[in-house]
């Protein structure tokens, strides 16, 4: 028993090192003076010059701003559609189109991105021919594509959260005469709010980060941040990308830490409420 615990624990530590070494190396070399990226120039480092270069790079800033707007809209759209789909799958029992919906929400998660990207572009081209919209590809088509692949993730998150709750609370409210919309707003929504929040963050991250699908449905003048990064690093390493990576890692780490604290607090509050409710029932 003991020896196996040792083996798996060693594997865990080594695995975590494997996961974090590349990220740490980017952070370290973002402060390196040398252009050679991986050769540490001890005499002139650490330096912030790549950060300065980054923030004076108009192309990167413009792309980041575009990606930010696309991700905000896509995540919000994906949350609405994904919550609807998750509700239907978790609460409606058997209905016509259930299999279809279940299939169409799990398939995008594993579908190779090149296929999703190609098929979406061909759709937009066909639509433009048929109904004259969308006119050309760009931010609009990117957003439509992002909503589509992000909503699958939101659906899974919301559905599994709903599956963890039994329907008794909702049924009790119905028995007391609440209307369906009221039940959803007062009971279901507060219950799944953490799932919706993490679904939104997940969707935002996926949209912000997507390269392959975006490349297919983007047009001239709509280069997102991953597209700019990809065209920069495709032909070698550039130090300002290290600086960009460091900033993004810091933002994500802060965001995750804050949301963990927030969720823990919400969890504790709920447990306290449940205990109180149980105590008053006694």
């Amino acid at each position: 028993m003991k020896s196996r615990g040792l083996f798996s624990r060693t594997a865990l530590v080594l695995g975590l090192i494997f996961l974090y070494v590349p990220i740490l190396s980017m952070i370290v070399f973002s402060f390196n003076n040398s252009r050679l990226v991986t050769v540490w120039d001890a005499a002139h480092s650490p330096t912030l010059k790549w950060y300065v270069a980054l923030f004076s790079n108009e192309q990167i800033l413009r792309a980041a701003w575009l990606s930010m707007r696309i991700a905000l809209i896509s995540a919000s759209g994906a949350v609405v559609l994904g919550t609807l789909a998750g509700m239907a799958l978790a609460r409606f029992g058997a209905f016509r189109g259930r299999m279809l919906l279940a299939g169409m929400t799990t398939a995008p998660i594993v579908m190779p991105e090149v296929i999703t990207g190609l098929s979406l572009l061909l759709l937009f081209v066909a639509m433009a021919q048929l109904i004259g919209w969308p006119r050309g590809v760009g931010a609009v088509t990117i957003t439509l594509a992002h909503i589509t692949f992000c909503m699958a993730y939101v659906t899974v998150v919301v559905q599994s959260r709903l599956a963890g709750f039994d329907q008794s609370l909702e049924e009790a409210a119905m028995d007391l005469g609440a209307r369906p919309l009221g039940v959803f707003l007062r009971i279901t929504l507060p219950l799944i709010l953490p799932a919706i929040a993490s679904g939104w963050l997940l969707a935002f991250t996926l949209s912000w980060d997507d390269l392959v699908i975006t490349q297919f449905v983007a047009g001239p003048g709509s280069s997102t941040l991953p597209m700019v990064i990809f065209s920069k690093v495709r032909f070698g390493v550039t130090p300002d990308v290290n600086a960009l990576a460091t900033i993004m890692v810091l933002l994500v780490a802060t965001g995750i830490a804050l949301s963990t604290v927030w969720m823990r607090r919400a969890q504790r509050r709920r447990e306290r409420d449940l205990q109180l409710a149980a105590a008053t029932n006694l």
Binding site: V110, W208, V252
Partner: protein, 297 residues
Amino acid sequence: MRLTQPAGRRLVAGVPILWLLVLFLIPFLIVFRISFSEVRLAIPPYTPLITWHHGTPSLDLHGSAYAFLFTDSLYVSSYLYSLKVAAVSTLFCLLIGYPMAYAIARAAPSSRALLLMLIVLPFWTSFLLRVYAWIGLLKNNGVINNVLLYLGVIHHPLALLQTDFAVYIGIVYSYLPFMILPLYANLEKHDTALLEAAADLGARPLRAFLSITLPQSLPGIIAGSLLVFIPAVGEYVIPTLLGRTDQLMIGRVLSDEFFENRDWPVASAVAILILLLLVVPIMWFQRLERQELEGAK
């Protein structure tokens, strides 16, 4: 059942169904249809499916895109190579991910959340940037070679970048969380009483693991493997940044056909053949997902 009135229910289910029909299902039909066209110099750059001759429609099906895929060995070899890379990477993900998931599932409950967060955290930072980080590590004058040279293990830099090895590392690195999470979800549910009983009956730990834990964790192994294998077959970014230039993966071939050669029918035919290959694993994954999500009720 009673939750919403029929009209409201139809709306709740209907809106996402409609959205996915238009933006997920119909696009595949279009890809399928264009794969039977021929390339032409026009907008759009493929022949129409139905042509009109003196007022009567005639179906214009071409198999030339598919025929082309089987005449040039580039396509077949990219296919087989992608399958090999995806299979090997999935195996390594499993070998590395299983003990990690196991260790987390057996860790003290208070530290599990933190460990899981450490696993998921890299996933939240840019996938593209994490793959890019490996260029800096694997290059000829990269971190790994410099360290090995400094330690005197090697005397000439090893060619690590643009090899199969680099692609395996890239895929294992990027997809490891997808392997660990379903495995953890499975292993965490195991009842340790069975293992204790086995130990009481004199089974050695390895034997108990092989005859109890491993078979019980099979659904987690399959789910994790499918989550890695299916997208890895069509992987584009990792082989483009880290991989060989003399042997492309099929996702890159598709992309090149589309962007470089502007041959939409051939790109579509490649997509259809990837899908044919993946349809069984995808449906398998969907069944597991359904069991997981609906079994939790």
